[in-house]
């Protein structure tokens, strides 16, 4: 007798976890980062030289091919997640 396959994963492609990090390009003024920097100072957290605010997208990708996943994430970042006029991005497939 074989055990019955788990119904939640049976027939479904594997899922890979990935992360896209979007940051402001150097030289772009970041008023929000500046405000956070000021708030940290007023909290007495010493030693903060500067703050730049960015965004993190945790994305689940169907399939098991990290190369394909990376290409897909780059396309997503180019087309929507980042505005390349002001932002850079980094793609990581965590596995």
């Amino acid at each position: 007798m074989f055990p019955a396959p788990r119904s939640d994963s049976y027939g479904k492609p594997p899922i890979m976890k990935a992360r896209v990090t979007v940051t402001l390009k150097t030289g772009i003024l970041d008023p929000q980062g500046k405000a956070i920097e000021g708030a940290l100072r007023s909290l007495g957290i010493a030693g903060v030289a500067s703050v730049r605010q960015g965004k993190v997208f945790d994305i689940e990708i169907e399939g098991g091919d990290p190369k394909k996943a990376e290409a897909l994430l780059k396309e997503a970042a180019d087309k929507l997640l980042a505005n390349k006029v002001i932002e850079n991005y980094r793609v990581e497939v965590v596995g």
């Binding site: 772009i28 003024l29 008023p31 929000q32 405000a35 929507l80 505005n83 006029v85 002001i86």
Partner: protein
């Protein structure tokens, strides 16, 4: 004039815009939902109104710029059709690639809702023919992200090609940091694309068109557009 006003979820200035277009041109515009793939036949002006499309999620205008109707707007603009984007509409046009640059958070981090003075830089465009070059108009702004920036090369090209249509100014037309309320580079309030048929601006001319409201400074833009389009037709 056969105007189409685009409607996205979260937009809230589309009725002001429609009302103004009807009042000034005499013809009511067609409201076009973002999920449509085509503009109404015979459209000669597309207006992208202000508001908070998709709650400003991701970046202001980013998600609206990727909606199906925007492909039709890009095709319309490529054929020389007139496109006007106001406030969130300006942000959407930048995000959709129809205009260069981006609207960042206001320098002082505040949402600014008040009247501002604009210097009209030139009058030889379908959008500004209702004004004189150098004229100062007073219209309202209402935005948190109106701080226009672009890379140095783009700014040099915009300035060199005379594509800045409106700048924040003092009541007598001086360009002064004290009157540049959102910190926009070169006090830029409105620009056109390289062909001059797509205008994006942060202020709301559609809100100053009736004496009952107090001022009519915004009327010139819509009157000029109406004239320009009727001359063609």
């Amino acid at each position: 004039m056969k105007a189409a006003v685009l409607v996205f979820p979260g937009i809230n200035r589309e009725r002001d815009m429609a009302r103004t277009l009807k009042l000034v041109s005499g013809t009511a515009p067609t409201m076009v939902w973002h999920a449509e793939h085509d503009l109404p036949a015979g459209t000669d002006l597309v207006v992208v109104p202000g508001g908070f499309s998709y709650g400003d999620y991701l970046r202001c205008g980013a998600i609206a710029a990727r909606s199906p109707i925007m492909d039709a707007v890009r095709a319309f603009a490529a054929k020389g059709g007139l496109v006007l984007g106001v406030c969130n509409g300006f942000q959407i046009l930048c995000e959709s690639g129809l205009l260069p640059g981006v609207l960042m958070r206001n320098e002082n981090l505040r949402f600014i809702c008040r009247d501002v003075y604009l210097k009209v830089e030139r009058s030889d465009s379908p959008f500004t023919r209702g004004y004189n070059a150098g004229q100062v108009i007073r219209v309202p702004v209402a935005h948190g992200e109106g701080n226009y920036i672009a890379d140095g090369e783009t700014i040099a090209r915009l300035e060199g090609e005379g594509r800045v249509m409106f700048r924040y100014s003092s009541p007598d037309g001086m360009i002064d940091p004290n009157w540049n309320h959102n910190g926009a580079i070169n006090a830029i309030a409105g620009i056109v694309n390289d062909k001059g048929n797509v205008l994006g601006m942060m202020p709301h001319p559609e809100n100053h068109v009736e004496a009952a409201i107090g001022r009519t400074d915004g009327r010139g833009l819509f009157a000029g557009l109406t004239e320009a389009l009727e001359k063609v037709a």
